[in-house]
Symmetry: C2
Subunit: 312 residues, 2 copies
């Protein structure tokens, strides 16, 4: 079983509007609401791959109830430690005339120390039957910035490998917990090492630094250009076929799901990366995060090239 940790889940509300009036009253012709946040997108993708997946997280208020209910409806079992604060919403306005999307992300509730301690008890118990843990997404206010380091260290103590997907301080601290794979995008990697990264060689150098800080492998997502992986067994580039414009959030989460799935299946790195990059490409083409079409996945898998990468 793969345990996906989602400390700051969200209810993603999407309004489809034909020609938005940004200073007036709009009547969306289509409204969708689904559980979101990066962790839940990863969990749904793993579920769609046929993986045995379970979510552990924090949820509160009626929005937390909506997240619980929506996840159960999607067939993903989850245990959320109750919190007094109200789980956040994200609100997307899709303008179908201008092909433009505006996103409004609420910050998330403040979590009390005792609430996070309760979550830790649940998390430790869940590690028993785990093949891998995925730590993904932002930390809500009140959860310590080095929380992912603690969760990764607890998993390492139970001999459970961790896939870490986070940015900023959560990534920097998290690497110290010794995750099997850290997956930043280029901007997150640059923020973690504290300098701009121009070109693949600079990215590979920064990935090596993250490995020196504790991560056993680093997979960098490069948007439409695929992946760069720096591991103890070597370094690789995975390039998917030419992409259409798509959903970048969904793509990154699908790569994480692909990496966790390949890790649990014991796929060698080149094959693991080929699947992860293809899943990312298929998810970028899907309308909502956490979804992909099986035909797109198969097509991308056939078209993805994995090559050994050498500096210079």
């Amino acid at each position: 079983m793969i345990l996906v940790v989602s400390l700051n889940p969200a209810l993603d509300v999407t309004h489809h509007v034909a020609g938005v009036d940004w200073s007036g009253v709009n009547r969306p012709h289509e409204v969708a609401a689904a559980p979101g946040g990066k962790g839940l997108n990863v969990a749904r993708t793993l579920r769609a791959l046929g993986g045995d997946v379970r979510v552990a997280g924090l949820a509160g208020g009626v929005t937390g109830e909506a997240v619980r209910a929506g996840l159960a409806e999607a067939g993903v079992p989850g245990t959320f430690t109750p919190i007094a604060g109200e789980t956040r919403r994200t609100f997307a306005v899709v303008d179908q005339h201008r092909h433009d999307t505006a996103l409004f992300n609420e910050p998330g509730p403040t979590v009390a120390g005792g609430e996070y301690d309760e979550f830790l008890v649940l998390y430790e118990k869940s590690l028993g039957g785990c093949a891998a843990v995925v730590l993904s997404g932002s930390l809500p206010p009140g959860v310590p910035q080095d929380a992912y380091a603690g969760l990764a260290a607890r998993a390492a103590a139970a001999a459970v490998p961790v896939v870490l997907d986070a940015g900023g301080p959560a990534l920097r601290h998290g690497a110290a917990g010794g995750p099997a794979i850290a997956k930043p995008n280029l901007a997150e990697l640059a923020a973690a090492v504290g300098r701009p990264l121009a070109g693949l060689a600079a990215a590979a150098g920064a990935a090596a630094e993250l490995r020196a800080a504790g991560a056993r492998a680093v997979v960098v997502t490069l948007g439409g250009d695929g992946l760069l992986a720096v591991t103890g067994d070597g370094a690789w580039r995975a390039a998917p076929p030419a992409q259409t414009a798509g959903n970048p959030t969904g793509a990154g989460d699908a790569v994480v799901a692909g990496l966790a799935h390949g890790l649990v299946l014991g796929r060698p790195w080149p094959e693991r990366l080929r699947h992860a990059a293809a899943l990312g490409a298929a998810a970028a083409a899907a309308p909502a995060a956490g979804q992909f079409a099986a035909a797109d996945y198969r097509r991308a898998l056939a078209g993805t090239q994995v090559t050994e990468w050498q500096d210079g």
Copy 2:
């Protein structure tokens, strides 16, 4: 007790953003969520006036739960008949740099016939202890377009006067139920009689038609220009002092609350209109619908002129 009917309540979510990126990711620095929909705004204003008020309506899903909880928190008792559909949200994005607000109003859940029948049983029971009924706001899909006519007729049979605030077919049909007061704005009145209305004389003529159709008095809101009332006792204009730009939804709902309050207190028409217009002006100056500052109300009351109105 004044019974306020709210068949299509909403959870009003407001995001305050400093400089919106309409094609990117925004992080609102302030998020508010409160029960809304016109009926609930009227109920909160009546509560703030010290009125004995109760809400009856339809609510479903976790958003319905949020509406129930928020209303109880505001000190307004309410009974909502449960429905299988999910109560709607409205989203307001307030751009604090451009002083612009974009509103996104979800359509509301489809109500099943049996659910509306259950509501009718609750409504009939509630009429016993009623001094007045307020019928306010849109009808959700599935509720018959002449629902307000039926509710008004039932109230009339129980000798309970009705204040009707609706637009379009709901207003046209509702007038036939014999409400004590119908309160359209100018656009709603024009839609009800099926022609544009230029000038006060045209509005008074259309109001007289609505009276002929069954409404015993018609009070037309004229935005910042106050009210025009056509009643069996005469016709009046109520003009509040010069206004600052404000919240037009809140203003109309406050006028309805003022009219219902004055009706129950037995205030003569000129005094009733003076209070209603002043409440509207005070509510227009408040940041959110259903609110007003007592000092603004007192000031507007002193400055509002009520004059008899005569055609020509």
